[in-house]
């Protein structure tokens, strides 16, 4: 038992992308980790608040630090300029070894976002690394808005329209609903 604990300890402190040895079984790590997940999320929140990145923000919802609400503002000089999108982020106990589930809350007309708000972004799936954090997720999604991946669309209509930026802008404005509180 002591050995396991000792392992968990080191595992927590050196939270690098390749810190988790493949041989070690994961279940014991899962149970011990919720405390360290809490700490990590808290420090991420602190960093996010103090970071002062413009156009992105997130905050835990209610009394649960595993559920966050995020806000992204469409970058300037893109078709999404002037829009604001609300996201929901839900973290698992395995965070940061597993990515959080991120969804759009209000309609986003985007090639990589489906009608339910699901996002197709590599770093939220197979390319995830524990070096990413809430801030980088939000920044990635913000840049995804301006630079969609047309090759693997979730919304083919949007993917087709993307080439015509003027019409696309009109479509975005037509479908845009500002997030509600």
């Amino acid at each position: 038992m002591a050995a396991v604990n000792g392992y968990a300890e080191t595992n927590n402190t050196t939270a690098g992308p390749n810190a988790a040895p493949a041989k070690q079984p994961l279940p014991p790590a899962k149970t011990v980790d919720s405390q360290s997940v809490l700490k990590r999320l808290q420090s991420e929140l602190m960093a996010l608040m103090m970071g002062g990145d413009s156009g992105i923000s997130a905050f835990p919802e209610g009394d649960n630090i595993f559920c966050w609400k995020g806000t992204i503002i469409g970058s300037k000089d893109t078709v999404f300029e002037g829009t604001e999108y609300r996201l929901s982020l839900s973290f698992s106990n395995d965070y940061p070894f597993k990515p959080p589930k991120v969804k759009f809350e209000n309609v986003c007309f985007h090639p990589n976002v489906d009608l339910h708000g699901n996002i197709c972004l590599d770093i939220l799936q197979d390319k995830w690394s524990s070096a990413y954090d809430v801030r980088t997720i939000l920044l990635s999604i913000q840049s995804l808005l301006g630079e969609p991946n047309i090759s693997s669309p979730l919304n083919s209509q949007a993917a087709q329209l993307w080439s015509n930026q003027e019409d696309y802008r009109k479509m975005v404005e037509k479908l845009y609903k500002p997030p509600t509180a």
Partner: protein, 851 residues
């Protein structure tokens, strides 16, 4: 009883009556009536006596003795009403309707009232004595009849007692029934006047004894009395032996005898309680005036003893004389003979002319002293605020008050009144925090003297603490006060001397020393003494608060209690300590060490365990220093060279340690030499760097100078003001809008610089923004910035939020350093600040971002 038996007796003999006997009865009854009439109105003429006796005998023979008694008494009553009461009251008619105030104002009436009262009393007493003589005659007549008739079983004595008590009742009921409303006032006034006269005479003596000022009463009196009192004043000063007291006593004897006579006469007329009320109230009035007179607004001397002395000297002597004259009337014993006060067993020994004071006198003394204590206590409580303002000087008065309270037990009165005074006079926006703190400390000390258990202190201290918590600069003032009593902070109003902390610790030490003594002598004897010394908590003590906490009044604890959190105190002290250490040019940190040790000791002694360990490490580790304001500064080349040389050597000796200079911190001693003068300064490095530049060039533009010493132009402009104000540099503005500073070589404006010329060493008073260490306010602002960012963050994502939701969210998620520890009210005021800055909007109780 009497009537029913006699009527039954009458009915029995009615049958046996003959005409003759009826004749005889009516004849002798008429005769009896006439004789009674003649006797009572006879004005001393007792010639009808034998006739009267014969008629009485005749009537008694027929068993009509009760008729005789009733008729005679009725006749007495009528006569008394006519000759006694009516005439008596008529004497006082001139005073009818005039209030006491008017009597006081009319000086003419002064002696008149005395005379009138004496005369009236004399008259009515004569009348009464005469009537008593007549009554005695009846008693004798009845007696002689009984002696003649064979049944001598009747007790002559009981007959007399019975009749006389009936008569006494009759007299007082007649007088009471016809009592004019102003008579008690006349009596009261009479006693007041007499007592004042008496006290003037005695006060002369008394003042001689106590070396006091002349009393006010004395001033009011006329010349004759004044002279007399002065005569006795001299006598009293010469010697206060038995004979002098005796002499003074006889001098007053006449007056006392007069009063005594009046009192006795009044008592005879059945005015016992009214008389007593009158002279009691007169005595109390006089005592009250005396207490007010003695206890002026000077709080540096104790007055309790002189008041007690006065009570002994004046009212008690009067009462003593009065009681002696009246032969220790039974009226006192009647009232409460069983209720002998425990204090009465050891009365004071100052009773001239009597070995053991009577119980009545002792009771009077207790009454008077209680009254005096209460009066003085009320007086002092009303002025307690001023008394505490003068605290160390007013200690005698506080001791007085303590004694009074021990006697009267009206502590709650003190607490209530003092809290009201505090609210009204101290806890206002106009009072400076320093003043409030000083008053608080004085209050603690003063109340500690009065009530070592500290129960009332708790009640009184609470409003002050609450108020101080609402002030921003409280912590700073407290720390300043604790650590440096004399200087440093120029706005400290206290006197120079040790810091409060040193003072407190001296007390603590002495307390502890006695504690140690206790520990050393833990033999049975000592334990017994300790047990005897134990006192119960006052009744007012709140049992919930636990009595153990109260054993020692912990001033440091009470002051730290204001702040609420000890961390804040430590923080503020840390900043201050850092500032002090940085400004030292030598390595003499003894005082700082001492203060630190005292703080630690204090925190151990008290209930407040200050986390002072932090302070221990302060000097060693940068982690424990408060954030230091980093300011770039290029210091002059020669000095820089010296510093880096030093750092290099340090590195050589202490490898692998390196010395990194914080070049903008510290203090520099400067000596400026001009053509005609020398000046010395102790300044901050930046000031020194500025002035050093003028060694090479006499004039600099602000831009160039700022570049040369490596600080921003605005900082330079602010810092350079110091030298301009000293008259060392002059500022001028060139055409290209550049500020130019020129060295003032020679005395250009001598009048301005007079104060600074020659050898003057000045410590630069850092104004705000020039502190080398971030102040607590800065830290607080920084904290608030964090909160602001969090609030912005949550509002961005949640749109709008109510106050308590923001509060709860902050509490939940703002947990890292600095964690959120503000109250809802503090948050609200912070939010309204943000609303004012137009960062937020408040609509229907919901905060949202201002778009």
């Amino acid at each position: 009883m009497e009537v029913s038996t006699s009527s039954a007796f009458n009915l029995g003999i009615l049958d046996t009556l003959t005409d003759d006997s009826i004749q005889e009865i009516s004849g002798s009854y008429d005769g009896f009536c006439a004789a009674t009439e003649a006797l009572l109105n006879g004005a001393g003429d007792l010639s009808v006596g034998s006739e009267f006796v014969a008629h009485v005998h005749a009537l008694c023979k027929h068993g009509l003795d009760s008729l005789v008694r009733d008729h005679f008494l009725r006749a007495l009553e009528e006569t008394f009403q006519r000759n006694g009461a009516f005439k008596f009251w008529r004497h006082f008619d001139p005073y009818r309707g005039s209030s006491e105030l008017q009597l006081k104002n009319s000086n003419i009436g002064e002696d008149e009232v005395q005379e009138v009262l004496c005369k009236a009393l004399e008259e009515i007493s004569t009348e009464k004595q005469y009537q008593e003589k007549c009554l005695l005659m009846l008693v004798h007549a009845l007696q002689s009849f009984k002696d003649n008739s064979s049944d001598g079983s009747h007790n002559s004595h009981s007959e007399r007692v019975h009749l006389f008590s009936k008569y006494q009742l009759l007299v007082s009921s007649v007088l009471m029934a016809s009592l004019p409303r102003h008579f008690p006032e006349v009596l009261h006034w009479y006693f007041k006047e007499s007592l004042e006269q008496l006290s003037t005479i005695m006060a002369g003596e008394f003042d001689g004894d106590y070396d006091d000022d002349e009393s006010e009463i004395q001033d009011k009196d006329d010349m004759a009395l004044d002279e007399r009192s002065k005569g006795s004043y001299g006598a009293g000063k010469m010697e206060i032996d038995e004979s002098s007291i005796q002499g003074r006593f006889s001098e007053n004897n006449k007056l006392v005898k007069n009063i005594g006579k009046v009192v006795r006469d009044l008592r005879n007329l059945g005015f016992t309680s009214m008389t007593e009320d009158a002279y009691a109230s007169a005595i109390f009035l006089l005592l009250k005036a005396k207490v007010h007179d003695l206890a002026g607004d000077d709080y540096r001397s104790s007055v309790l003893e002189s008041i007690k002395g006065w009570i002994q000297a004046v009212p008690l002597q009067f009462l003593h004389a009065l009681l002696a004259y009246l032969g220790e009337s039974t009226s006192y014993e009647d009232v409460s003979s069983g209720l002998k006060s425990p204090l009465a067993s050891h009365p004071s020994s100052f009773y001239p002319g009597s070995e053991t004071p009577s119980e009545g006198l002792v009771r009077w003394q207790l009454r008077l002293e209680y009254f005096a204590y209460e009066t003085l206590q009320d007086l002092r409580i009303a002025k307690l605020f001023e008394i505490i303002v003068d605290y160390p000087d007013s200690l005698p008065v506080i001791e007085d008050l303590k004694q009074c309270l021990e006697y009267t037990g009206q502590h709650s009165k003190l607490v209530e009144s003092f809290i009201t005074a505090l609210r009204y006079r101290l806890l206002t926006a106009g009072a400076s925090t320093n003043d409030i703190l000083h008053q608080y400390v004085s209050t603690i000390k003063a109340l500690k003297t009065m009530d070592p258990a500290g129960v009332f202190l708790e009640a009184v201290g609470e409003p002050i603490r609450d108020y101080l918590r609402g002030r921003k600069d409280t912590i700073k003032c407290i720390v300043t006060m604790l650590t440096d009593g004399s200087g440093g902070n120029s706005n400290i109003s206290g006197n120079t001397g040790d810091s409060l902390l040193e003072e407190l610790n001296r007390d603590e030490e002495s307390q502890e020393n006695t504690g140690l003594d206790d520990d050393f002598n833990t033999d049975d004897k000592q334990a017994w003494i300790n047990a005897i010394r134990w006192e119960p908590d006052p009744v007012e003590a709140d049992p919930l608060k636990g009595s153990r906490n109260r054993r020692k009044v912990d001033i440091l604890g009470m002051i730290v209690g204001i702040i609420g959190s000890k961390d804040q105190l430590v923080n503020e002290y840390r900043v201050m300590l850092a500032e002090k250490l940085l400004n030292k040019s030598d390595y003499d940190i003894d005082t700082e060490l001492r203060t630190l040790e005292l703080l630690k000791a204090g925190s151990e002694l008290g209930d407040t365990a200050l986390p002072m360990d932090i302070l221990d490490a302060t000097i060693l580790s940068s982690n424990f220093w408060p954030p230091i304001q980093d300011e770039s500064l290029v210091i002059p080349q020669p000095v820089d060279q010296l510093l880096s040389d030093y750092a290099k050597r340090f590195n050589e000796i202490k490898t692998p340690r390196k010395l990194l200079w914080k070049k903008n911190l510290g203090a520099v001693k400067l000596e400026l030499q001009f053509e005609d003068r020398e000046m010395q300064f102790t300044v901050a490095p930046v000031h020194a760097a500025i002035i050093m530049k003028f060694q090479d060039e006499a004039s600099w533009t602000s831009k160039n100078l700022a570049t040369a010493i490596g600080v921003p132009v605005d900082v330079l402009n602010r810092r350079i003001n110091f030298w301009i104000s000293k008259g060392v540099l002059a500022e001028s503005i060139r055409e290209d809008n550049n500020h130019v500073f020129t060295l003032m070589e020679g005395m250009v404006d001598s009048s301005k610089n007079v104060g600074n010329s020659g050898n003057c060493e000045e410590l630069v008073a850092d104004d705000e923004g020039e502190k080398s260490v971030a102040s607590v306010e800065d830290q607080l602002r920084k904290e608030m910035t964090v909160y602001e960012k969090f609030i912005m963050g949550m509002l961005t994502n949640f749109g709008n939020m109510a106050l308590d939701r923001i509060h709860n969210t902050l509490k939940m998620f703002c947990v890292a350093d600095p964690s959120y520890d503000k109250s809802l009210q503090q948050l609200q005021s912070f939010l309204s600040g943000l609303v004012a800055e137009e960062k937020l909007e408040l609509r229907d109780g919901m905060y949202s971002l201002k778009k």
